[in-house]
Symmetry: C2
Subunit: 375 residues, 2 copies
């Protein structure tokens, strides 16, 4: 039976998704979604999960064995890493130059940690010397950095940080929610101990999975933990019994969604067929083209040239324009979603995501034409 013969209730009008994610999945990924559901302990599903883990290592550029998608949205990966690694009164240093750095700090505080924020203005990267000075002074257990700040469109250079963090005995955590598979992410080369991302941006899947990678040093920290992890769903030791198995057999922990894994595997295969470097170059090219085209409309990017997150461009909305009304008309009249500003930037910027299949010149043309019509 095909969909068209069914009297279904859900009918969705196609929207061009140029916000901060989700992006539109490719046809291949959408096709994978409707493959038959399998059980979470089915041998075919477990093979498929293993393949996802292998390919995720390639995309994260890490040999970390413990690399897998957490069964929740990108934020669940953040929660899993912090809830397991942070214990009350630990010293945690967090680079905060936007909403998502702020959220890491908020969670760290909820967990009772002694949280030190190294701040930079929204739209700029965090100053590396300041960060390293804070590491030297506080000798934190964990240093958290947002590689691609989705609220501002800033890409944070990660080089030369891990050594300092490791020398003082700490771990380096990276949020690469918006940078993974859109810009260089080098977990191994950068010495990142733990990182998390999401399925619906650079990976071009529906949301619902949060790829994470966890290195050996982080696992040693976990072994030295004194108090229980205050979660079962996001309890890494429990999750591992399913994801990695115990003595060769996978123990039930939760019912992983085969459907979301199909989409993830299809996208990972597609990404590696294209090649990561080619994909990064395509995202850069699309972002540069967007910035060039909108400059003719009087719109300027918030972020200076060397620090731009190519997957997500923040455009400053001139005060004479009615930000919310234009965004709403793009959606209603042109079926295009763009992102509103978050936090300090609410009402002041649009966030234009060109991710996955949408990092494309023709997509930019459609957006600019619609924007011109609305303006």
């Amino acid at each position: 039976m095909t969909a068209s013969t069914l009297s279904t209730s859900v009918h969705i009008e196609d929207v061009l998704l140029l916000g901060p994610g989700p992006t539109n999945p490719t046809n291949r990924v959408m096709a994978a979604l409707r493959e038959p559901v399998l059980g979470h302990l089915d041998p075919d599903f477990l093979s498929l999960m293993d393949r996802c883990k292998t390919l995720l290592r390639k995309v994260f550029r890490t040999p970390n064995s413990l690399t897998f998608p957490v069964s929740g949205t990108g934020s669940s990966g953040m929660d899993l890493l912090l809830v397991n690694l942070v214990e009350g009164e630990d010293k945690i240093v967090i680079a905060v130059n936007g909403f998502f750095g702020g959220r890491l700090a908020q969670l760290s505080q909820l967990l009772g940690a002694n949280t030190v924020r190294v701040e930079a203005p929204w739209g700029q990267p965090v100053d590396k010397d300041e960060l390293l000075a804070a590491v030297d002074r506080h000798r934190p257990k964990l240093v958290c950095i947002v590689n691609g700040e989705t609220s501002t469109g800033v890409y944070q250079d990660m080089s030369g940080i891990a050594d300092a963090v490791h020398e003082t005995g700490g771990l380096l955590l990276m949020d690469c929610v918006t940078s993974l598979a859109t810009m260089p992410v080098e977990v191994g080369q950068w010495g990142v101990d733990v990182a998390f991302s999401c399925s619906q941006k650079g990976l071009g899947c529906p949301s619902g999975l949060s790829p994470v990678t966890i290195g050996r040093r982080a696992l040693e920290f976990l072994d030295r933990r004194l108090t229980p992890v205050p979660s079962f769903y996001l309890n890494l030791a429990e999750v591992q019994k399913y994801i990695d198995g115990v003595d060769g057999s996978r123990l039930y922990h939760h019912t992983a969604s085969s459907t979301l894994y199909y989409a993830l595997l299809e996208s990972l295969e597609e990404i590696l067929e294209e090649g990561l470097e080619a994909r990064w170059a395509r995202h850069e090219k699309a972002a540069r083209y967007l910035i060039k085209e909108v400059s003719a409309l009087g719109l300027e990017p918030l972020v200076a040239e060397p620090d731009r997150l190519h997957a997500l461009t923040t455009l400053i909305v001139p005060e004479r324009l009615d930000e919310a009304r234009i965004r709403s008309r793009l959606r209603s009249e042109h079926r295009i979603e763009v992102g509103a500003g978050l936090g300090d930037l609410a009402g002041k910027v649009w966030r234009i995501g060109l991710m996955g299949r949408n990092a494309d010149r023709a997509v930019v043309d459609r957006f600019v034409e619609a924007l011109r019509a609305v303006l």
Copy 2:
């Protein structure tokens, strides 16, 4: 472009899912899955989310305003409720007559609570007098009961418990992961304060969402909480800013998966078209037919007549049979998944789920025929 013209990597062989969930979604639900992805703040998506919340109230049989799907599998709903409601050294009473009661107790202990287990043998309900005596003695903040114990196939009668719990000032939590939309679940009438379920059993969706309902008394408990909730992803106050909004607008908390919501909405519409009572009767009829048919093969149910969870029947595997081998042959030769025993029942039972579309005489016939061939 249709799927068949795409060179996709993911090709899944259809399996008849008769384990503890997931079950096979209907064609309508599978069709909904491939509707175009929408953003998590898109006006059309937010309307669809509101419709899901309305229909979930009907399925839970509750007027609770705060009724929504948590963005994770069924276990994430358990985590959300306990992580928010339990504070260190709270007194918690938990009815434990199987794996899932045990897991509630495990999480309660991870959260530092003073955890009292009221136990019954696996395969039997918990004795209500014992439970009420424990409530009277310990005056717990929270009493947790599994309505449908997925590890054993026991349905726990919930009547006459809430009043006693409320009289001593506590809250009543119900796990209805396997009973929702397969057997009577009456959150309102039973006086249940909070309950959680999953998408992939009675609701017949892929896994990935955990419907929860949270009553007014539970929210008052939350208001009186003294220590921070040790989570951001499952932090109810934060989730509510998105799910319910603040001053009429929805604030970003996480990127809800539109895809999984489409499946959920389609299934809820389908369930309410059938009618809950008709659905409960269909599940009962299918389970009775299964038990009758397998008795000819010398298989007996673990659970006595009045306590059976119709969605999931545990069959005792005679010692002469090679449990794992037969299960594996059903899967490889007949493309049928059945569930293995969990915990104390590992190797001793099969768990046969007849849920959603599979609560059907023809499905039972196919299973019994395959089982006969393998035996």
